[in-house]
Symmetry: D2
Subunit: 357 residues, 4 copies
């Protein structure tokens, strides 16, 4: 397994869905950073289950405890360990799954790879692990505030329903509704669609768009750790993600070079680009323009319907839909996308400090 | 900079477009592997410039030399260093660009990040670096042959022209035409389109699809180094790539869970899935089904037209189109995509050897 | 900071002397390994303070809790997080040191490096951190038992008092006395010396020797991660260590090659060496003979005497000896040396699985 | 294998004793650093064989070529690849060793670990590899000059002959004699001893002492990558090294804490220590005092005498002394020790840039 991420601002997460706790150790947070516990809690609250009618009804308060690395409210340079205890662990909901492989879950692959599997709620493969990422991401965001970096994600698509391009939206309105789409008209339709899907005991996918403003110039470490490559990996490591594109993305394929190229201009003494098909990244390095990217989430695999499958012995069985799950994962994925983006940006900010003499 | 990739099968590339040589050091190739020099050369030949009328006319024979790590035709466990000298280095083609930032190139960001820049042909940011990846990828492919793994990429889209789904294609026909699309009817249209774009002194984007058959079960290291996350990073690290999706990808967003889930079945004693929206990866681990993914390439930034830009002093200038470049990068990107996929798969194959007692 | 160690069997420790808890996350323990909680506790008990009259009187029960990675008594492949709460945290013992730099402690360097310092008991620089290493080391030892590897350390020197060479000792007697020297005559003198030093309110140094029997052939990864180089780093990372030598060590310098070389012999069909000046390692790789090395520990810096020093403002001050500390660190260092040796050996055991095809 | 060293200033070496070339790739050299080719050559010349009557008569000019990463005499931030071709490769000297294991060499362990072995001159296990380290070390030294750091090693012991303590020596005299001991009286005796040993067709060991002056405060990354732990690993990774100690080292073991502790004093407004048993490192972090350490080298394993051994089939054989080798390795080890120290210090200098906000 590989449960660490980052080079200089490095996190290691641990914990299973139905074990005693989930947590994270951050190694490399610069000493002297103010650690704002209220902000960490507010980020966890954005991710927590049970927030609204369109999220899972599992209840977790997600109260965290810092075990190390902070003294007098500041990071000391020592590793910061944060633990979130699991509370609502209705493990018996999963007894019927001990020997059964749920379709499009990680049950089968974990069993084959490791020869043993904590089947309760998906164990380590559960999206419960992302609570640790959000806690670490809150600290990364705090570090990025020192540089003025601003990261905002929002729901840009649910099923076939799409919000307008980010440039036409007021991103400060993202938290105004439960689906986290800043366009209220689209948001309303999205909520209705998710609710309908939920009543049908089904699930649906969506897209989260993330915009990073005020990025410093020079972030990203080619030729392998390009800024967008690392953002891509970070996003694809989130549960249920199936695709990543930045800037013009897949649509850019159909353009001509003469349409796609971003002309440089002198904007009041500052080098800027006239357009931004590059998505703020050129040659794997931030150019100071908005960084924006889109992350595709598949429909949640747990549905409240009977499904055919096989068990450990290869016998064909029917998996019945039980437990409490999100009909659509994207509203709660918004803070997770932001957290991972913050971790990538914080890491590159530190790495960039040694680029030149 | 970060010029290494991989954990156990690890490569480090070096070299600039117009310096003396480009090369790669492979650290971690298992001892005893047969090193087939003819195969390495054949892979380099698939990538080399000047192959056909739709690729750049720059001439490089791309003859490689192994400096270490091979004895009596076998890997010894020592690092394998491979060097490819640069031959056709018409550096003076680039004199006019010494102080100018070409639109949508890495000129500006390299200058800002490093304070110094080898402007000749893009220097380190040039796609010339990928020749080193292809050499290393050839050895990774050889290692994967020990496990029966088969990796094939092809051009699935140029501009708006799309080939049918991979399941309807005979992938053995990929090398039958110069655009590397196994569907001959589509290939013909693609070639015509690229040729037309070339005559217009413009460029166009495309998509490369990659299919990995016979992957062993169990490859991938959650929660961060998921198989598809690492494939995504590897692909996004290739020059001009703007997006990555695997399995159902962005299109899967619009499906319901009940449509998207891949039922497990018992196929003659073997656990298989009835459909494969998962793209051969569940929970970040290969499940034995075909792994397939799509990689979006933007139109090449170098066009044979005048473009507005600025120079180092911020003065507005016109960049004239000179030099020799590909009107569309995807035909030559096919072996690069395969090489990076092979490197990821080889690395995970080794890493998986320590998963269990 | 760098709080992780190991490549495939990787640990990350966290926690300060007087914070809420100390802990460790193990990432890379092979799935299926039996986790023996009683054994972990017994190892922690060998390290814990307050064991005898010659160790510190600080009381810590060092009760641990596993938060993740273990299911039904077996490692699942997920990260194993272990937490040990700090109980006897008499922080006020350290109030007088908030602004003062204790001689030969890390107070000054931490203050300068990080600009902030948890002064209570040395914070992160305290040897309290080693409790986490011992917990992880217990699991590494369990893994090594699968290969028959046997690691035993003992006290071979206190001040000028030296035990005979390890080949003349019965290492099974190490735990028979409180100083952990298997030679009872020397042990008695060592205990008397430490007790005398304690009464003088002073401290004294010592040497721990470690012997690894039944090492598999082939462990170690040249040219940088040689087996002895990694053992050296691991030992030197333990608090108060000043030197490391293996095999003939510093004494071997005075020998001629003709005396020092270890002739190969055929011992009943097995290649062995007649002598073992190599210390079981040749070219950085284990050769199957006993691996043995010596680790020098300086006298503990905390003494119960007045000492001259300076404070944060550079003012000259007198540091008075307070708190509870070991007069000699080596008896309690024995399980720490074993733990670090086990971590190195476990890691190389896994890494060696990918050396050959 | 593991052929990379360093975290931010990272080197990867490659090449065998009798292959086409040996080389190194440096990834992470800050852009803008002046690359002084004459200085690199002068460092290689200090290490090269055939310098004097007390070194091996193998002739290698050790001419290097930079393949990448340097433009207009400055590092560009791209990886710097340096290649040194092997010239005097009298491989046939080794034909008789193809199936034989030389005593106290790496022949047997390489054969067992990798199942295949380049037997010519020790292949990858040869000290020839260190030429790559010295080339990289020259660039690390150049970087350190920006900080005023000064690294000097010298021969402090050959056999039983010891030079006085470094504080009594004028280190600028190290290069005044062929044995590289700054005390001319001791140097003369050392040279005579080595010459005598050579005539006896034997070899002898020695100690290299290294002193680092003007180190910045704050280098070192506890708890695992302590400055002295990393120096120890770096030294122990050099061929033939058997021990490492810093500051008071093994001798410090016999002192009392009250003798060993280094009192802090205010020296004209600067915090200094009155003594320096700490060797310039406290808690794993440099405190601004001189860093000094000693490295023990065993007698060279290749002797010009017959020795008993076994071959690949386990048959007992006699190995005859052939080839050209150093009777004592320490004079040529001096620049290697300096190079590795420079690499460690350069890396920590960069790492320290992100310690605080």
């Amino acid at each position: 397994m590989s449960n660490s991420y980052g080079t200089l601002f490095k996190i290691s997460t641990f914990g299973e869905s139905h074990g005693p706790a989930v947590g994270v150790v951050i190694d490399g947070c610069p000493a002297g950073l103010d650690i704002d516990e209220a902000f960490i809690q507010s980020e966890l609250d954005r991710r927590k289950p049970g927030q609204s009618k369109i999220t899972t009804q599992r209840k977790e308060d997600d109260v965290f405890k810092i075990l190390s690395g902070v003294f007098d409210g500041k990071a000391t340079g020592a590793p910061i360990a944060i633990v979130i205890e699991n509370q609502d662990q209705r493990s018996k909901d999963y007894n019927h799954l001990e020997n059964t492989f749920r379709p499009s879950h990680a049950d089968y692959t974990y069993q084959e790879k490791y020869g043993i599997r904590d089947h309760r709620g998906g164990g380590r493969s559960s999206a419960r692990e992302t609570v640790a990422r959000v806690a670490a991401g809150a600290i990364a965001k705090t570090l990025l505030q020192e540089y003025g970096v601003d990261i905002t994600a929002y729901v840009s698509q649910v099923g076939d329903l799409k919000a307008p391009d980010y440039s036409e939206l007021d991103l400060s309105k993202t938290e105004d509704n439960i689906v986290r789409c800043p366009d209220s008209a689209t948001a309303e339709k999205m909520i209705a669609l998710i609710d309908q899907v939920r009543l049908e005991r089904d699930t649906i996918g969506g897209v989260v768009t993330c915009v990073i403003k005020n990025s410093p110039l020079g972030l990203g470490e080619p030729v392998f750790d390009k800024l967008h490559a690392e953002l891509g990996k970070a996003m694809l490591s989130i549960n249920a993600v199936k695709g990543f594109e930045y800037g013009s993305g897949f649509a850019g394929v159909a353009l001509r070079g003469s349409q796609h190229n971003d002309e440089f201009i002198n904007a009041g003494g500052k080098v800027r680009t006239k357009t931004n098909h590059s998505g703020g990244v050129q040659g794997g390095i931030s150019n100071g323009e908005d960084i924006y990217f889109r992350v595709a989430f598949k429909p949640v695999a747990t549905i409240m319907q009977d499904q055919n499958s096989v068990d450990k012995e290869g016998k064909e069985v029917v998996v019945t839909g039980k437990g409490r799950h999100d009909p659509c994962v994207v509203p709660r994925a918004v803070p997770i996308v932001e957290a991972m983006a913050a971790l990538v940006m914080a890491d590159f900010t530190l790495r960039n400090k040694v680029s030149k003499i």
